[in-house]
């Protein structure tokens, strides 16, 4: 029996080591779904394609492997767009397969047709429309290669129905030939030498570490560098976990809602060593006031990130792990007692604080940390819940914190938690959510129930679209336009039970810890509905356009 496109597709998944594919079938994609039934690749049926995309994303972030999602043509494919953009912004390797109408119908406004290659052109690392079934093995090989190498990113493969039914005997190739794609992995030796010299000469160095360190698996090298040369370490949102936050050199997150001591340290440093981070505006605040006295070393695999926002003095284009490994022997052991003492004083004078009365969202996050001994895998939604999750949990491992940073997609956390649980079946997984965000992909509770995933969803329920409400309070005289949700929120416990999950309501501080422990012990997905203080704000806060050392609020 000759191979058809659908066979080639499944063959490719197996060859690429894909364990799970997240998606929903439809008319033009039935041939692929049919072959999946007989394959070792497990289909995870979600309840919205956006959920499938975010689940593939969460799986990829938690495991380091390529996440795969699949949708039918037209509306199924367009439902993936937000998830693809989310992955694109955070450099997550996913391959999205979308069905497409038969090739003669393309461009004719056929039923359930959408120009996915056009629509996703600017939000994918690359995309393909396969018009000839004999191109399919090469295209799939290239898709996985492009997704996982260099600076990873989402790749879309648009597959017309007649192509998946067409016959071709070609085997899956062993190699790729992409003359236009040759990522540079090895940092330039001269640049690395310059970087080492700058580090050895510095008196107030700071390591600014981003998601790239986690992608390149170079947390060990960062730790060695920091401890060898006594360099304090701050991370971006996506870099949380790249350096253990319980270590004395840890400054935790910097930027708009980062710690005061991280922001002060960067502002007063004489050398910023950026590794796998991109000087995003949430981090830098006002550009001309960012690290004004510091030389900047920037180690990154993507040349477009270097000198995009701020001028870099010593760029090193290459993979972080290799570059740091080459750098380490050239860096002298050092202590910076004055600098570290200064930072310690800042830590003592300006720790993260909140008023511990009533049921505070920060307390909930702290208790999740304690109850899981800091080992939980945390996904978040977006907004205040995300910021409190970043601030009040102490992350110590890469791939422990999973959050939509660049795009900031509400509704990411629950499906991402599902993907993360598949990647880490033995881990305790918590989605820290808001009452607004959780409703954007609440239907994925069904997915968690269907596959018996013991994910825990901690809703910091304040009845508002919290982060927007905070801005309206601080800058718009509390004119709460479009941010009041509490008058029509569902009873989340009943929603959980309606799906066949567990629901636990918490209204007092004393109930928090026991509820968390019950959730962890339950083999079913659990919604914890925490009725938190309704107008609590995330502090410190760097107002938009301000320098990062000019924070408001939250100072002890």
């Amino acid at each position: 029996m000759r191979k058809i496109g659908a066979d080639i597709f499944v063959d490719a998944l197996v060859k690429e080591g894909v364990e799970y594919i997240f998606g929903i079938p439809g008319a033009v994609i039935i041939p692929l779904f049919d072959k999946l039934l007989d394959s070792p690749v497990k289909l995870v049926l979600t309840r919205h394609e956006q959920g499938a995309g975010h689940a593939a994303d969460g799986y990829a972030r938690a495991s380091g492997k390529v996440g795969v999602c699949i949708a039918t043509s037209g509306p199924g494919a367009t439902n993936l767009v937000t998830a693809i953009a989310t992955a694109n912004f955070d450099s997550v390797p996913i391959v999205a397969i979308t069905g497409q109408v038969r090739t003669p119908l393309i461009g004719n406004d056929a039923f359930q047709e959408a120009d996915m290659t056009g629509i996703t052109r600017t939000i994918t690392k690359h995309n393909f429309l396969v018009k000839d079934v004999c191109d399919l093995p090469r295209v799939l090989k290239e898709a996985f290669h492009i997704a996982r190498t260099g600076r990873p990113g989402p790749v879309l493969v648009d597959l017309p129905m007649d192509v998946s039914l067409g016959q071709c005997d070609l085997d899956y190739p062993d190699t790729v030939n992409l003359p236009g794609y040759k990522p540079n992995y090895k940092g330039n030796d001269r640049q690395i030498k310059l970087a080492a010299e700058a580090i050895n000469a510095s008196k107030r160095p700071v390591l600014y570490v981003g998601g790239g360190v986690i992608i390149s698996e170079s947390a060990t090298e960062v730790f060695e560098l920091a401890t060898k040369a006594s360099i304090p370490v701050t991370t971006t949102l996506l870099g949380l976990g790249a350096f253990p936050e319980t270590h004395p050199l840890a400054l935790k997150m910097l930027g708009m809602h980062g710690t005061a001591y991280a922001n002060y340290a960067v502002t007063e440093s004489d050398l910023v060593i950026a590794v796998g981070a991109r000087f995003d505006d949430r981090v830098t605040g006002r550009l001309d006031a960012f690290a004004p006295e510091a030389k900047v070393i920037h180690i990154d695999i993507d040349p477009t990130s270097i000198s995009k926002n701020i001028r870099v003095d010593i760029p090193v284009v290459g993979d972080a792990k290799g570059s740091l490994q080459a750098l380490l022997p050239l860096v002298r052991q050092a202590t910076h007692p004055e600098w570290l003492e200064k930072i310690d004083n800042w830590k003592k004078q300006h720790p993260l604080v909140y008023k511990p009365c009533g049921l505070k969202p920060q307390y909930v996050v702290e208790q999740i940390y304690e109850a899981t001994k800091g080992e939980a895998v945390i996904t978040t939604e977006v907004g205040q819940n995300q910021m409190w999750a970043a601030q009040w949990f102490k992350y110590s491992r890469p791939r422990q914190f999973i959050s939509s940073g660049g795009l900031g997609t509400m509704g990411f956390g629950l499906p991402a938690a599902i993907g993360a649980q598949f990647a880490r079946p033995d881990a305790v997984v918590f989605d820290i959510a808001g009452d607004g965000s959780i409703q954007m992909n609440i239907q994925e509770l069904a997915t968690a129930v269907k596959y018996k995933l013991p994910v825990n969803i901690a809703i910091l329920n304040n009845g508002f679209l919290g982060m927007v409400r905070q801005w309206q309070e601080l800058f718009y005289r509390k004119r709460y336009s479009g941010t009041i949700l509490g008058d029509a929120n569902p009873d989340f416990v009943k929603v959980a039970e309606a799906y066949g999950a567990d629901g636990i309501r918490v209204t007092t501080r004393d109930e928090v810890r026991p509820a968390i422990e019950r959730a962890i012990a339950s083999p079913r997905p659990v919604i914890l509905d925490f009725a938190v203080e309704s107008e609590e704000n995330v502090f410190p806060m760097v107002p938009a356009g301000e320098a990062i050392n000019k924070m408001m609020g939250g100072m002890a």
């Binding site: 056009g118 052109r121 690359h126 236009g180 477009t304 000198s307």
Partner: protein
């Protein structure tokens, strides 16, 4: 500052769309664009004239290189290069003025390619500055229609 960027790309559907989307999405201006064949049928060559300060041009060339379908990017501003543009100008010709316009064409070594009752079409190729000077001289007569290819360029130099 004007920059001429030469991009050699895979001759595949969607590449032009991708590059022009890139420019549009990031707000880079395209003053002119010419795309045509090269000596290799699997590739096309795009010559894009854009403008911006050094930092913007650096970003543009980096972003272009990042695209999978891009094979080579040359910011020709950094080397000696040959640049040519081609223009067709349809200009009003009131009686009595035809001689003057022919003279201008001759001086610039352009060609008359069409003659009508009330207008003339002149063709001229050359460097952008020559083309602009030519257009300026013809403006007083009344330019009815003007079409330009946009520049193409090639690095100079003994190889």
């Amino acid at each position: 500052m004007k920059h001429v960027i030469s991009v050699t790309v895979e001759n595949k559907p969607g590449v032009l769309a991708h590059i022009s989307s890139l420019f549009a999405a990031r707000g880079y201006g395209i003053d002119s664009l010419a795309v045509g064949e090269t000596e290799d049928p699997a590739t096309s060559r795009m010559t894009i004239v854009t403008h911006g300060d050094d930092q913007i041009i650096e970003q543009i060339t980096k972003q272009l290189r990042k695209l999978i379908s891009t094979l080579k990017v040359q910011d020709l501003g950094e080397t000696e290069y040959i640049e040519r543009d081609l223009v067709l100008v349809k200009v009003n010709v009131a009686s009595g003025k035809r001689g003057e316009i022919l003279e201008i064409a001759q001086i610039f070594r352009g060609n008359i390619v069409d003659v009508g009752l009330k207008d003339l079409v002149v063709e001229l190729s050359g460097h952008e500055s020559k083309i602009l000077a030519f257009i300026e001289l013809l403006k007083p007569y009344g330019i009815k229609e003007l079409v330009r290819t946009g520049s193409i360029a090639m690095a100079r130099g003994a190889k």
